[in-house]
Subunit: 335 residues, 2 copies
DNA sequence: AGGAAGTACGCAAACGTTTACGCCTTTTTC
DNA sequence: GAAAAAGGCGTAAACGTTTGCGTACTTCCT
């Protein structure tokens, strides 16, 4: 494929190609008459400016990278959509990548994005060790993590306040009269889920309730593994709990399926509370009450932190914790 | 940000930078000893090859563009995920764009992708006129449409066989004993939906049934507009039909919601059949029987057609119609 | 009229690669 | 042992832009 270049235009306009560049970019000093003439010619010839050549000299691709753990997870795909939108509003394109929860692959795609000379990278870390693995490259390109910061690391972090979200959810269930609440999900694998569990435990303690767990040992969260775990949970009758706090909406969907099969009604027999507020949660017959992560806001903050760094308007690292919100639908009931 | 370049390596290795290039690319003729030495030095210095510089001389970015109409629609986001995966397997990155069902925006992002010098573009057309609008640019870069071909246009097309899918679905409902089937959805706006309606009509005729419609006049398809239309449909009692064939799963979800509110049970009171098989359809309590579009296959074919064109292995245009498949769950019942 | 100031444009370098060509050294061949 | 072939490496051009610097021409002021 042969594209029209500045030189092609310069030849027919009988000027130097520097002049053509100035006419098109609008910045340089140039006479209004020639500018109009060149503009017309370039339109007629179907010129499109070559951004890769421009990137070489400008040393900026106006492209951002986004690495998520799993694109099939609706939380991630919603986050990706919002990020893409925010980026475009700031004048950046977005290249989307997938780490598949693997440190190796995460490192690989990170290197790839660096090779493409993206101006900045947003990463939802695959594991706790992600920072350690990526740190040699992080020095080379502005990066923000969508995750909570455990120890003080020299990167920007944006996330929901998971601890507060968990407190919010637990308190809501208690306010409905529930005393036997099961915390359902991953506890140890990621910082995010660890903090959620902590919030639950603290709130139980404060209300003299005994924290109880149904632990999901898997690295990832899915409808399927929520279902499998719930089948076991529902096998012991009579049920000795009245509410379940699922640490992710996807797990909650698995719980709904298991409950359905076991003849357990939600919310009549047991209340179910989720976390994330994925778009699924709003579906008819699902109508899951859940703690919302402000995905749009998270995406917007991450992108804007990144572009500020890129534009060198500020080189400070941000650590932002966004407030969670309770979205009441129909899966929880007064006891 | 300052990256390590070939010249930097050449300086410490005391060779010319052409030699370094040969050592790293693996193609050129070079002594094994120097190659190892250079490899080690470049590792130590943290070199990453600059793909934008390479793209300049190779005249290929190894990047594909994907334009979808709406990333929030689950059908689109699933298609996007599969495409991204296929592209990566072929060694290409993917830049994701959104036309928001607007011809203007579609044209704009297409130009943008051309400017970025992507090697090929996959587009889910926003409207019937998309081809006409994009045709001047299509000549410049290999393009494949994910859509059915109406008249013979010089572009590659990949899609499900919508007509056959519709026949399949209608015949299934008839085989369950239904005689009064409503076709629910858009009919006139897009080629895709036009063909689906045709398949329904033809099958009705063949079985001496009168085709009946609940028309959705909106350009896009959503849970919300499916819901609104269904509320009207359910307001006339008693119901004078026993099955609904929704032309998209998202509309079907809206129907489920409206039915729920109206006290109409699915499938006991009315059977509901969808089209697309989005991942939502498999959710507990939803369990929608539907005609599947083979999204993964469509993505794979589109990508592979594109890369064959790019590699100049074939310059023929493909027009591929993939077979639909009936996915039986629980929303349809014998009458 | 003569010099200063400003405007419009051309020249050429630079960005970091890849690669055709050529040269020198080493190996092979009879 | 000399000629031919092969191997290893350097030189330089090219890809399409942007931009600092230089210069010719115009305009303005006194």
């Amino acid at each position: 494929m042969k594209y029209v270049t500045l030189k092609d235009i310069a030849r027919v306009a009988e000027v130097s190609y520097a002049t053509v560049s100035r006419a098109l970019s609008g910045s340089g000093e140039i006479g209004e008459a020639t500018r109009q003439r060149i503009l017309k010619i370039s339109r007629d010839m179907g010129y499109t400016t070559d951004y890769v050549a421009r990137a070489m000299v400008k040393r900026s691709t106006r492209t951002l990278g986004l690495i998520v753990t799993n694109l099939n997870n609706p939380f991630m795909s919603e986050l990706a959509n919002f990020s893409e939108q925010s980026a475009r509003e700031e004048g950046y394109e977005m290249i989307l990548c997938n780490s598949s929860h693997s440190l190796d692959q995460e490192k690989q795609v990170f290197q790839l994005l660096v090779g493409r000379r993206v101006d900045g990278i947003i990463v939802v870390p695959a594991e706790q060790e992600s920072y350690a693995v990526l740190s040699p490259y992080i020095a080379q390109v502005p990066t923000v993590f969508i995750s909570e910061n455990i120890r003080d690391m020299p990167v920007s972090f944006v996330s929901v306040d998971n601890y507060a979200g968990s407190v919010l959810g637990t308190e809501y269930l208690i306010s409905l009269g529930h005393r036997d609440i099961i915390y359902f999900g991953r506890r140890l694998v990621s910082v995010t889920h660890h903090l959620r569990a902590e919030g639950y435990i603290a709130t139980c303690m404060k209300n003299s309730l005994r924290p109880r767990f149904a632990d999901n040992p898997l690295p990832s969260t899915s409808i399927q593994n929520g279902y499998e775990l719930a089948v076991r949970l529902f096998s012991k009758r009579p049920l000795d709990f009245s509410a379940i706090f699922a640490s992710s909406d996807t797990n909650a969907l698995g719980i709904i399926k298991a409950a359905d099969e076991a003849g357990i009604r939600i919310p009549e027999d047991v209340s179910l509370l989720g976390f994330d507020n994925i778009s699924f949660a709003d579906l008819p017959k699902i109508e899951l009450t859940t703690v919302e992560q402000p995905k749009q806001q998270m995406a917007a903050r991450a992108v804007s932190a990144l572009v500020r760094r890129i534009r060198n308007e500020s080189d400070e690292l941000i650590k932002e914790k966004l407030p969670p919100r309770l979205v009441v639908r129909r899966s929880c009931k007064k006891r």
